[in-house]
Amino acid sequence: MTTATETGRTPGGAAAERSARRRGGERRRPDWGKYFTWAVLCWLFAPIVFMVVFSFNDIKGRHNVTWEGFTLRWYSDAFAYPDLNVALLNTITIAVLTMLIAGFLGTLLGLALGRYRFFGQSATNLVMFSAISAPEVVLGASLLSMFLTMNIAVGYWTILIAHVMFSVSFVAITVRARVLTMDPSVEEAARDLGATPLATFRLVTLPLLVPAITSGGLIAFALSVDDYIITSFVSGSTQTFPLWIWGATRVGIPPQVNVMGTLIFGIGVLLAAGNMVLARRRSR
């Protein structure tokens, strides 16, 4: 009986001892890991906070670098520069088209690379990774000389082609990773239950790939929106948002740029949150 009581008490006693030790430890040593994490987060978010705050800056002159008071003026006046509007519209349409085209091609590429063994497979892998790792200056310069050699007029469509080219690999890699971890017998089960190969793809394979395709597509969108280097080579006289800002730095960036940046950031956060909610609902 005594033994039973003793063993019964021991776990509780040990736990109490442990938690006492932990409390004592916290008093003695600050939790550096926590502070460090917060420091990194601040470092990451500082530029964004700066951009948002300065979209409300009531500046009188050309330079938006010192705080001069709060205003909503730039938001009501967001589209005061017609050039900037055109550039922003170009950037957004190119990004959406890039997302769709690279999403489609990247999905097919990822499926082929993850599922089948074929001639030229390792070469395809190599090209894909070199498209990611090659310096953008090199890519931009070679794209420009290619377009010139082929006598293609640079402009909106060459920007789109370039963006699809460098972002398709990212979609392919995310899709391939998903394909590789997918249980092949899930598709076999669909075939076994009477689904034709096409129905199997539509009802089983594609739905299972959707998360990977979505994240790959969002990466493509993000890459396209803020690409400067490659775009600057193949843009001709077409303006995009990053190109316009770069041009404006010489004369002073108007607060409208901060406003648009804030809006783009806000939409991005909303999309990411929406995707998370959807993913959670899917898994339920």
């Binding site: 249980d183 017998s185 899930v186 076999e188 089960a189 669909a190 075939r191 076994d192 239950l193 009477g194 689904a195 034709t196 129905a199 009802l203 089983v204 739905p207 299972l208 899917r282 898994s283 339920r284």
Partner: protein, 381 residues
């Protein structure tokens, strides 16, 4: 449930031409090319699986059992040979046009669909009416005791429940045969034993032919009507669980199924229906054996058929002297290892019943004995 059973009976009567086996495999060979070399996974398998039978393909991994099953399902095409379902040649017909369904080792449930949609998948592919689908799915989930979980996604179910969804998803289509590929492999021991009984009950209820692939001999013995023991791409032995256990036809079967004692010896002569066999370095015993005098044989004796005595047993029993090398007490039974004169070790299982005589201890000199008909002779090496 009664309706489902009647339905399947009616269907068997109408669908199957009399005399045709549910599944028949004729001279099936499957060769893979792997690393520039041809690997024979299945080397000439002939099997007839009858309607309503619980049939197991039993063997170690790599013996060709899963490949054989996948050829029945249509996921693999045989290199040569014919697969027939109810007499119809289905060789080369893709899986979605074969009237068999499979339960996968990994369950292979559709993770993005609810339990209801998973089970309804096959019926929807066949284009059945919505009301009919609802009724059949409900019935099928009731059969596997998962009613009320229709709206759940598979990821939220336990392993055992996922297993039963996989079973319901296949059974709801009333296939002419259900193929099960090590379906209990991922479950823990207790659940596995419960599911074995459950599977057998379901099979009796629905009357569908079950083809069960497993490497677990206990599972095969518990559930099957007949077992094909496979090894190296061939069927080693085909028979009922009792036949396979009691009368293993080859050394492989004897060793793979249960614990078996193997004794090598030479036939010295025949006397009164039994053969006298000289066991190498251990003594002379009687056994059932047709081999002529002078031929080498291997005798297999199951451990539970062997008696352990301190006094010399009567002469009508096969008997050999030895020394107890190991005693392992296991509650309801005790396992003894007895070393014979030539060093061969014999395992003896003994029930710990109340009237059992006092057990032998390590180092005791004992006699092992059994009735001559309990030893089974295989061609020796």
């Amino acid at each position: 449930m009664a309706t489902a059973t009647e339905e399947s009976r009616a269907r068997q009567g109408a669908g199957a031409p009399s005399g045709a086996a549910a599944i028949s495999l004729e001279q099936i060979v499957k060769t893979y090319r792997s690393g520039g070399e041809d690997v024979q996974a299945v080397r000439g398998v002939d099997l007839r699986i009858e309607q309503g039978e619980f049939f197991s393909l039993l063997g170690p991994s790599g013996c060709g059992k899963t490949t054989t099953m996948r050829m029945v399902a249509g996921f693999e095409d045989p290199t040569s040979g014919t697969v027939r379902l109810h007499g119809d040649d289905v060789t080369g017909i893709p899986p979605h046009r074969r009237d068999v369904n499979m339960v996968f080792q990994s369950y292979a449930l559709f993770p993005h669909m609810t339990v209801f949609d998973n089970v309804a998948f096959g019926l929807r592919r066949k284009g059945e009416a919505a009301g009919e689908i609802r009724r059949k799915v409900a019935e099928s989930l009731e059969l596997v005791e998962l009613s009320g979980r229709e709206r759940t996604k598979p990821g939220r179910l336990s392993g055992g429940q996922q297993q039963r969804v996989a079973l319901a998803r296949a059974l709801v289509n009333r296939p002419s045969a259900l193929l099960l590929d090590e379906p209990l492999g991922a479950l823990d021991l207790k659940l596995r034993q419960a599911m074995q009984i459950e599977l057998k009950r379901i099979q009796r209820d629905v009357g569908i032919t079950f083809v069960y692939v497993t490497h677990d001999q206990g599972e095969a013995l518990t559930m099957s009507d007949r077992i094909a023991v496979m090894n190296g791409g061939r069927v080693e032995q085909l028979g009922t669980p009792a036949e396979i256990y009691e009368r293993p036809a080859t050394r492989f079967t004897a060793g793979f199924i249960g614990t078996s004692n193997l004794l090598s010896g030479t036939v010295d002569g025949h006397r009164g229906g039994f053969a006298e066999i000289g066991i190498d370095g251990a003594g002379e015993i009687l056994a059932e054996c047709d081999s002529p005098a002078g031929s080498r044989v291997d005798l297999t004796v199951r451990p539970e058929k062997i008696a352990l005595d301190t006094a010399e047993p009567s002469a009508d029993r096969a008997r050999l002297p030895g020394v107890v090398a190991e005693v392992v007490y296991l509650g309801s039974t005790t396992h003894y290892t007895v070393r014979l004169g030539d060093g061969t070790e014999i395992v003896v299982f003994r029930q710990n019943s109340s009237d059992a005589a006092s057990a032998a201890d390590r180092g005791d000199t004992v006699w092992v004995s059994w009735r001559p008909e309990h030893a089974y002779a295989l061609p020796g090496t």
